[in-house]
């Protein structure tokens, strides 16, 4: 399946501002941060979570714990997938019970990834609450799930693809909408 770049919706500066705003919103909504933890969904959600933690530290001089979640073992389509997913480690080395968890992912689409993540998190303990932060909300939900913090709402068609690139993995910070060509 080939894609053609259609529009660039965030560049490096845009992404920095969006994450800063999300961080401020998190701090505003949660007031105390001693019981906060940020958990990112592999791969790009984990890096975004790390950046949000860095921004919280810049603003409030307090480092909240980071967790990394791999949701592949919780997928509802494992038997349907054509390719074998690569399973990585889940790294949550603190007790999430009674913590306020900020769950972070790059793109919110059908909501199925978040459903997996919620199931996985509940297996680690009983958090006080879970809030969802996403860089891009592209719509087309298949489950009753919504984000508490959204970087950018991007209405898309199902023919389009949102490509989030981060310096840590892709060498560049940007978000582009791509359009499927030849089919």
């Amino acid at each position: 399946m080939a894609f053609r770049e259609k529009a660039r919706i965030l560049d490096e500066e845009g992404m920095r501002r969006v994450l800063l705003r999300i961080t401020h919103e998190i701090l505003e909504k949660n007031k105390t941060i001693s019981d906060l933890a940020v958990i990112g969904i592999r791969t790009r959600g984990a890096y975004l979570a790390e950046r949000i933690i860095g921004l919280i530290e810049e603003i409030d001089k307090f480092k909240v714990p980071l967790g990394i979640l791999d949701i592949n073992l919780y997928r509802d389509d494992l038997t349907l997938l054509s390719a074998q997913p690569i399973i990585h480690k889940t790294e949550i080395d603190f007790d999430i019970t009674d913590k306020k968890i900020i769950l972070v992912d790059d793109v919110l689409f059908t909501g199925r990834t978040i459903r997996c993540a919620l199931d996985a998190l509940i297996d680690f303990g009983r958090p006080k609450l879970i809030q969802l932060a996403v860089l891009i909300d592209r719509g087309h939900r298949e489950l009753p799930i919504r984000a508490d913090y959204v970087g950018k709402n991007v209405p898309t068609s199902l023919k389009e693809n949102i490509n989030v690139k981060l310096k840590e993995v892709d060498g560049i910070d940007e978000v582009v909408i791509e359009e499927r060509i030849n089919g």
Partner: protein, 308 residues
Amino acid sequence: MVNWTGKDLLGLEDLSKEEIELILERADSFKEISLRPIKKVPTLRGKTVVLFFFEPSTRTRTSFELAAKRLSADTVSISANTSSMVKGETLKDTVKNIEAMKVDIIVMRHSASGAPHLLAKTVEASVINAGDGCHEHPTQALLDMFTIKEKKGKISGLKISIIGDIAHSRVARSNIWGLTKLGAEVTVCGPPTLIPQGIEKFPVKVTYDIKEAIKDADVLNILRIQLERQKSNLFPSLREYALNFGIDLEKLKFAKPDVLIMHPGPINRGVEISPEVADGPYSVILEQVTNGIAVRMAVLYLVSQKSK
């Protein structure tokens, strides 16, 4: 990145280096699940795993059962002496009947070399070899390799000595195939009567001198002396074996300061390994057991992903 394509896991001789590395990598991801307060993920929900053990086993059977359960599969245990095989049913018929109950994975231990291979050809379910005769015990070797990799950071270039009853050991054979494929240098050591004929066909060095096997080795994998073998006069007495080949503190003086002591269990204290060594600071015997679950979870997961 390679994909897993096989229906079964029968031995390490048939696997490529990449496939072995794939299992070890997956096992690393699965290890953390056993440390959670709720030790379960829904990955194999709705799959049925049959544990078919024709030989006694505590470690391997329990380990496979826990691995399957922690992936949310349903498990059924069958042992030969309580099955209809005592009424004369053949192995093939028994397994065909079990398969008719729509099971997905059959984990099997059998005293005859090649028994799981025969089954794998007969049934559509995935077959995992949990030890066949003197042939192979792939998941044991994989967990040994996982433990070595975890402790030493690599396998390639390491010197690994396997000591004891090589002739009757499926653990030794699987370890030799797996370790050499990943680039380790393997030496086997034991009394000549316990080194198999045809050992020169394996990519290993052979020594009958225990000091030679200990010196320079990064890992000593000490095999169980199968007490029942003594009747066949392969060595004069357990005491003599312990004196010449049993690993004790005295012999360990020849070892590298960071040597790793491994044993697949069950151990005969004071025969092939002294209690001081088995419980000593170099020993990773119980960590091998812990890692066994992660490795078996990876194998169960991968064979259930077959043909993708």
